[in-house]
Amino acid sequence: MARRSKIFGSFTEAVADIPDGSTIAFAGFASPGVPLNLIAALLKQGAKNLTCITNGTGGAAPDRMPDIGMLVENGQVTKVIAAFTAPTRASDRIPLTKYVNEGKVEAELVPQGTLAERLRAAGAGIPAFYTPTAVGTELAAGRETRVFNGREYLLEHAMPVDVAFLRAWKADTFGNLLFRRSQRNFNPIMAMAAKLVIVEVEEDFVQPGEIDPDDVHTPGIFVQRMVRIPPAPEGLWPGRRPERAPAKEKQS
């Protein structure tokens, strides 16, 4: 049986039909696993009224690579769901702040573990769950809690997404993915939470069977589209993170 190839020739082609109003999950934590090339393609593609799910929106570092903050600045984003919606250091600035303050973008702040588990639940067919995280805080105000075994827990709902953008180290042509080191982060759970999964891949595609089944982190059944990242400068590859001055490390 002939199967349509999951391999796309360009990032432009891979994101071409993403409609306005989509909910898109962006993998990555610091620089590892961030789908830089797919973000760059989405900036050019121009889909609007997007809801973006991400750990952070970026834009605090001087050596800026494509990030969610750029989609915000490009007028493509209506809502951001993230574990960081403002900097924790008074000296830091992120592009999102201005748009939130002006009421142009809605920002939903979610604790990182709750963000991860809401995605995992969506991918696991679980509509909601209870967590001890954020109980007693401003985030839990007016929301449903329940006591189990003498401890109070907060109700959280699954977070299904339309599209997930991933970055993987290796992939076979069927879409089985292998991530390297901390590149894995949100990638596998965002893949499972999404209806459409698009992956930028760092190494040349290999044939099915060349990645041992025991080594597959995300099975190909979750993956629809893949693009091999070209060498720099055509393809985007993260460099080293610049050192921060120690004086700027302060929390407030």
Binding site: S31, P32, G113, T114, A116, L119, P132, S182, F186, P188
Partner: protein
């Protein structure tokens, strides 16, 4: 910290690191807490970071970084033999199920009832929670590190937090440039005092009652 009384930043972190027990799984927050991993201690620890790295080692020097490997602060770290990597949901399963022995967090304020605040500054629209709320709610112990007062001299150890809290009643150890404290509900116990600092100075810089034991130990710097 130059110009501030008491301990330097690394010395505060050093004192906290000496509290770690053999075999503990330790999660260090961004900022001063990460400096705990610079302390030369013999204790065999497993460092966990939110992005799923279990068993990371020192930050690698420029030119030797692995671009695929960072800790929670985005620093390019190394892996110790026996390290393992999991995805984000499993990383927080480790946290939520109570397997982290201690988390050390940099914070804005702490109250003597064990509440603390570190995600939203006054007047901000939104905040930066990261993994702090999960860690604070679920780690076996929560140690916090902060400078004793704000830049304008206002106390940051208080009767109750003025900023939105990260978690309630969870802090077991407070380390500042002036000393080492334990929240006792309606007061802080001054466990140890920084060299060159007086009890009166500590009291004057603190926004909550301080209990001072007889024979108050002075923090030994490394």
């Amino acid at each position: 910290m130059s110009g501030t009384k008491g301990l330097e930043r690394q010395q505060i972190a050093d004192r906290v690191a000496q509290e770690f027990q053999e075999g503990w799984i330790v999660n260090l927050g961004v900022g001063m807490p990460t400096m705990c991993s610079n302390t030369p201690i013999d204790t065999d620890l497993i460092y966990h970071s939110e992005n799923g790295v279990i068993g990371y080692g020192p930050v690698l020097p420029a030119g030797q970084e692995d671009v695929h490997l960072v800790n929670a602060g985005g620093q390019n770290v190394s892996l110790k033999p026996g390290a393992a990597i999991v995805h984000h949901a499993d990383s927080f399963a480790i946290i939520r199920s109570g397997r982290i022995d201690v988390t050390v967090l940099g914070i804005y304020e702490v109250a003597c009832n064990g509440d603390f605040a570190n995600w939203k500054v006054a007047g901000a629209n939104g905040g930066g929670i990261g993994g702090a709320m999960d860690l604070a709610a679920c780690a076996k112990q929560v140690f916090v590190i902060l400078e004793h007062t704000t830049r304008d001299g206002s106390p940051r150890l208080l009767r109750s937090c003025s900023l939105p809290v990260t978690a309630r009643g969870v802090v077991t150890l407070v380390a500042t440039n002036l000393g080492l404290f334990k929240p006792l509900g309606d007061r802080f116990l001054l466990r140890e005092i920084a060299p060159g600092v007086t009890v009166d100075e500590v009291r004057a810089a603190t926004g909550a009652p301080i209990e001072v034991p007889d024979n108050l130990p002075v923090i030994r710097t490394l």
